[in-house]
């Protein structure tokens, strides 16, 4: 698709500029409006009794004493919600064979993971609700738990859903070419490694939070919700309460981070909404940090055995791997917990020419917290498998890791094409990105420095990744499989009498700057001062219908809709102006909030004058003129299932071989997200993503005891990366606009998280290689690095 002459190709004050976020000042002044800041008359607070064990049968549940506690308004159990909430099942038809059992918001009869809600107390304060929770008597019969995903399919493993006969939720194999034959080829080198990726979770600054009001007079449910997909949640509340969708209003005001955590159906939130309906009183539920660690979705948790064969010149001959991932006792609703495995199958090797590719993933049930989509779904695993094996192969044949990439990356002039797994690819720049990276990091000098330091006993390593990121998804991601998830988004742009412009959009803001780029696009395309543009997002009643934030789609899809709407409004403005000024629309333009003569000419009238004429003095217009100063446009990606982006990243690390500590000394990222709307926001998205990726590589892990007790339930045990340990992260861009839109923007939100772990792992192994040690388990903790050195005899 190519549109009309692009307004941002002309001098533009906003698109492409590092414009500061309009809401940053408000948030820094403490004027944010988060769910927990909100109070409602007669509001009660919810606290939950949660399962203390990973698997058990509820023998009895006695809430009588809790009901008598001070401040308690009601106590509701899982059984009380039968018939109130329709159970939900996390399957999608395009993930053929995926199965999951019906879920209720709170356990009925059986508990299947530690932390599963069992009963809910509603009280005047959260503290009183917690006091009463302690008075609930829950008698459980312990059942054997299937916790280890690698043993969950063993014949003697406890089966979590007996009706399925096994703990297998889903499996898929991709088989392209003839891997077996390729592996028997002449003159090839095969490397085989076992990778382990720990469970993480996305630690949001603001925990999950919801404040639900129900008005029985109008059968109206209003949900203030810290989340990223209001329309999806509207559907879910309506469907599972048997309500009309229009009677459910979901509002997401300020959201303190989300990272994919706040886009799922959580039992405690559904139960809180059910309670609001049952009591006819507002109910607030705010997860505390214990609950966040225990009940926010977890992610990653993969064990992979993979091998790669390369020819003598370093060309990839075959890539072959088996993956197993544990998802907890259910597939999460409605996005399912098979998407991450599917992404691993789809994305591994996607930057490279891979003639023979075979990959299998097994997704298994286990008695742990549910796993689902978190920032860069599947990407860190896919990139670490391929680029980990690639650097091992390079070492095995004595080739530089940059050189082996040069020989295998898809050529920049070879698009459109498909990846080994059949993904449609276009507008990528792997070669340019790698060359820019090598130049930016001064690779040759770094290698010299590494050699010099090694003589002093300092073990530095340099590691790379070439990566793709799935962004701007079409309906092929979810909608095709029956999910209530829009892949299109809309924007309404309106000119008011005072000359101000209102944008209302169905994409959402969680702190990443969506509202800022919508402002930039509309101000830039329409030709008004950015300070005159107001943005509304996150309200199912007042915004167009759309998908919200996921899969790095806000700028590419929501931004394009805003661009189209601003263009349409501009045309409407010029039509009116042409009549008022008695000229033709194509002789006019809009600049700086005024209608001007086209080609940079003089101002003829302000937009405010024009709007006042339309709104107040319509008598001055011809009777047959029916002016509109509001335009709505929607946009979806049509020509591609996804718009892939690409990047090249490198890490320099220092391994303390006495302690196993790894320090990231430097990090470089070259990213191609198409047109950069706001370089400051994109750079910080990349940096924030890299930091989360470093967290995955070195620090973060949800650790469990063998019987399924989560051990990392505080910020002291679950180690998030902190500023003092982070390296300088150098960011550069290649801009290859996508042809699927006028704006040309692809996503940028997940690349860092997706790519950094592989680069850090490769760098650690580069440092360890002369010592004969290697590590393919993340996070690479001191204990694990020491164990790797120990295995190598150090």
């Amino acid at each position: 698709m190519s549109g009309p002459k692009l307004s941002f190709d002309q001098p533009n004050r906003y698109i492409g500029q590092p414009v500061p976020r309009a809401d940053a000042q408000r948030l820094l002044m403490g004027r944010g409006r988060f769910v927990d800041d909100m109070q409602a008359p007669r509001m009660v607070h919810a606290a939950f009794l949660r399962s203390p064990v990973a698997h058990g049968r509820i023998v009895s549940l006695d809430v009588a004493a809790a009901r008598r506690m001070p401040g308690v308004v009601a106590v509701i159990t899982g059984a009380d919600l039968v018939g109130v909430v329709e159970p939900y099942v996390g399957v999608l038809s395009h993930l053929a064979g995926l199965r999951s059992a019906p879920q209720m918001p709170m356990a009925v009869g059986r508990v299947r993971w530690q932390g599963e809600p069992v009963a809910m107390v509603l009280a005047q304060s959260r503290a009183e609700a917690e006091d009463a929770v302690a008075e609930i008597h829950l008698d459980l019969e312990d059942l054997p738990a299937a916790t280890d995903m690698e043993r969950a399919l063993d014949p003697d493993a406890p089966v979590i859903h007996p009706e399925f006969g096994s703990n297998l939720a889903w499996t898929r194999t991709v088989n392209v070419g003839d891997v077996d034959a390729a592996l028997k080829g002449q003159d090839i080198t095969i490397v085989e490694r076992e990778f382990r990726f720990g469970r993480h979770t996305g630690v949001t600054l603001e925990a999950r939070a919801t404040l639900v009001e129900y008005d029985p007079a109008e059968d109206q449910l209003t949900v203030l919700y810290s989340g990223q997909a209001p329309h999806m949640m509207q559907f879910i509340f309506a469907k599972h309460f048997g309500m009309l969708e229009e009677n459910v209003r979901v509002i997401s005001q300020d959201v303190g981070g989300s990272f994919g955590i706040k886009i799922h159906t959580y039992g405690d939130e559904i139960a809180a909404a059910a309670a609001a309906r049952m009591l006819g009183r507002p109910v607030k539920f705010v997860a505390d940090r214990f609950e966040s660690f225990m009940t926010d979705i977890h992610a990653r948790d993969h064990a992979v055995r993979g091998r790669m064969a390369v020819g003598r010149a370093g060309h990839i001959v075959a890539l072959d791997f088996d993956d197993v991932t544990g998802i907890g006792p259910y597939s999460m609703y409605p996005r399912t917990s098979a998407i991450e495995a599917n992404q691993v199958l789809n994305l591994t090797g996607a930057p490279y020419v891979v003639p023979n590719y075979r990959a299998t993933s097994k997704v298994v049930f286990q008695n742990k917290t549910l796993m689902c989509q978190y920032r860069a779904v599947g990407h860190p695993i896919a990139m670490a498998i391929c680029d980990g094996l690639l650097e091992e192969a390079a070492a095995a044949i004595g080739m530089d890791p940059v050189e082996i990439r040069r020989r295998n990356l898809m050529r920049d002039d070879s698009y459109p094409r498909t990846s080994a797994s059949g993904m449609k690819l276009d507008d990528l720049s792997h070669q340019k990105a790698l060359e820019k990276l090598v130049e930016m990091m001064d690779y040759a000098r770094l290698r010299e420095n590494q050699a010099r330091l090694r003589q002093q006993g300092i073990h530095r390593g340099i590691g790379f990744v070439s990566m793709v990121e799935v962004t701007n998804p079409s309906p092929m991601f979810y909608g095709i499989g029956g999910a209530p998830i829009a892949s299109q988004d809309g924007a309404t742009v309106r000119l008011d009498a005072g000359g101000g412009v209102h944008v209302s959009s169905s994409v959402t803001e969680q702190g990443q700057g969506t509202n800022a780029i919508l402002q930039q696009i509309v101000a830039g395309v329409l030709g008004v001062d950015i300070a005159r543009v107001k943005v509304t997002t996150g309200d199912t009643r007042t915004t167009p219908y759309g998908g919200g934030t996921w899969a790095s789609r806000g700028a590419g899809i929501g931004g394009e809709a805003a661009l189209l709407a601003a263009q349409a409004l501009k045309e409407q403005v010029l039509d009116v102006a042409a009549v008022i000024l008695q000229t033709q629309a194509d002789k006019l333009d809009v600049a700086d909030g005024s209608v001007v003569d086209a080609g940079g000419g003089a101002a003829r009238m302000t937009l405010s004058d024009l709007a006042r004429t339309v709104y107040y003095r319509g008598n001055e217009l011809p009777s047959d003129m029916k002016p509109e100063l509001v335009a709505t446009r929607h946009y979806r990606v049509t020509d591609m299932p996804f718009v892939f982006t690409n990047g090249a990243m490198a890490a320099e690390v220092e391994v303390d071989v006495e302690t196993g500590f790894v320090r990231v000394v430097n990090f470089w990222a070259v990213e191609d997200c198409g047109r950069v709307i706001n370089p400051r926001l994109v750079d910080e998205q990349v940096r924030g993503g890299v930091v989360q990726g470093i967290g995955g590589a070195l620090y973060e892990e949800c650790l469990y005891s063998e019987d399924g007790q989560l051990l990392t339930t505080t910020m002291a045990d679950y180690l998030v990366p902190m500023a003092a340990e982070m390296p300088d992260i150098h960011v550069a861009h290649i801009e290859t606009p996508t042809k699927t839109s006028i704006l040309g923007a692809k996503g940028a939100g997940e690349a860092g998280t997706g790519g950094a772990p592989a680069a850090v792992m490769n760098a650690v192994n580069d440092a360890l290689r002369p010592l004969g040690a290697s590590i393919f388990q993340m996070p690479m903790t001191p204990a694990r690095v020491l164990a790797a050195l120990g295995r190598a005899g150090h």
Binding site: E130, G660, A716, L719, M722, A724, E725, P782
Partner: protein, 282 residues
């Protein structure tokens, strides 16, 4: 989570505080900086029936120097310790270690007395006091007593303090200002409790053999522990070669517990590393 219900008292002076502590029923928790107590209460790990806020008790504040050394009031905050030349000169080991204790925001409120009374096994301060042969002054309605650090830290969050006593002050011996000091810790992230750490002091001039070394580890056991084996190995010796090797080897006799992020064998290895590195800095 929210803290369980509790009563709150804020006495104006020491006499008032001690009276409440001895007279009132229930589980009374003195409140100093609150940097450990408040999180524990909010997790409902600690559920005291009463908080006894020491904020107004002037007798527990202030640092004084005398012929026997320093007396540091229990309510002296880390940030005050770092800024006070009496402390940085009279107890240079404290100055060396302070930047490693938590983060600036926590050091703004956390107190030396709170750390000592809590006796967290991974906290720096108990080990510093062991290495300096410091003494802890306890006060109750029945009087004052002074307990050597060696006899004060008894186990996991367990000390020689009786329930009706307050930690009143820390006494640092005069020779702490003259002894050589060493400190090293390994924390995953700056400000975290260490995976392993060591504090040590010794007599003798720089470069000379170590006279009467005192070596205390933290983050290894259920409390800060003296490494008497290593002290014996290094006594009157240069910390190098076989002597140093013997000192490191002796650490295997320490009672080492693993934790979530490091099993005992890793802790032992790290203990050897921090000892070598702390000595290298002396």
């Amino acid at each position: 989570m929210k803290a369980a219900d509790f009563a709150y008292r804020r006495p104006a002076d020491l006499a008032g505080a001690l009276a409440i502590l001895s007279a009132e029923e229930g589980d009374i928790a003195p409140l100093a900086g609150g940097q450990s107590l408040m999180p524990m209460m909010n997790f409902r790990i600690a559920q005291p029936t009463m908080l006894l806020d020491l904020a107004d008790v002037a007798e527990l504040r202030g640092v004084t120097a005398g012929p026997d050394g320093l007396r540091i009031g229990a309510m002296t905050r880390y940030v005050q310790l770092a800024a006070d030349p009496l402390v940085t000169q009279g107890a240079p080991l404290i100055g060396l270690a302070l930047p490693h204790i938590a983060h600036a925001a926590i050091r703004n409120r956390g107190t030396i007395g709170g750390s000592v009374a809590l006796a967290d096994p991974a906290a720096e301060m108990p080990a510093l006091l062991l290495a300096m042969a410091a003494r802890i002054e306890l006060v109750s309605l029945s009087g004052r007593r002074v307990v050597a650090a060696d006899d004060f830290f008894l186990g996991l969050y367990e000390t020689a303090r009786a329930p009706d006593e307050l930690v009143a002050a820390i006494h640092i011996p005069a020779d702490a200002s003259r002894r050589r000091v060493g400190f090293y810790e390994l924390a995953r992230r700056h400000g975290d409790y260490a995976m392993a750490g060591v504090a040590l002091t010794a007599g003798g001039a720089t470069g000379q053999p170590l006279a009467s070394p005192r070596i205390a580890f933290f983050g290894l056991s259920d409390r800060a522990v003296r490494a008497t084996g290593a002290e014996a190995a290094l006594k009157d010796a240069q910390p190098a070669g076989d002597t140093l090797g013997a000192a490191v080897d002796s650490l295997s006799a320490l009672p080492i517990n693993g934790d979530l992020h490091a099993p005992p064998d890793v802790k032992l290895k790290l203990a050897g590393v921090v000892l070598r590195r702390a000595l290298a800095g002396m």
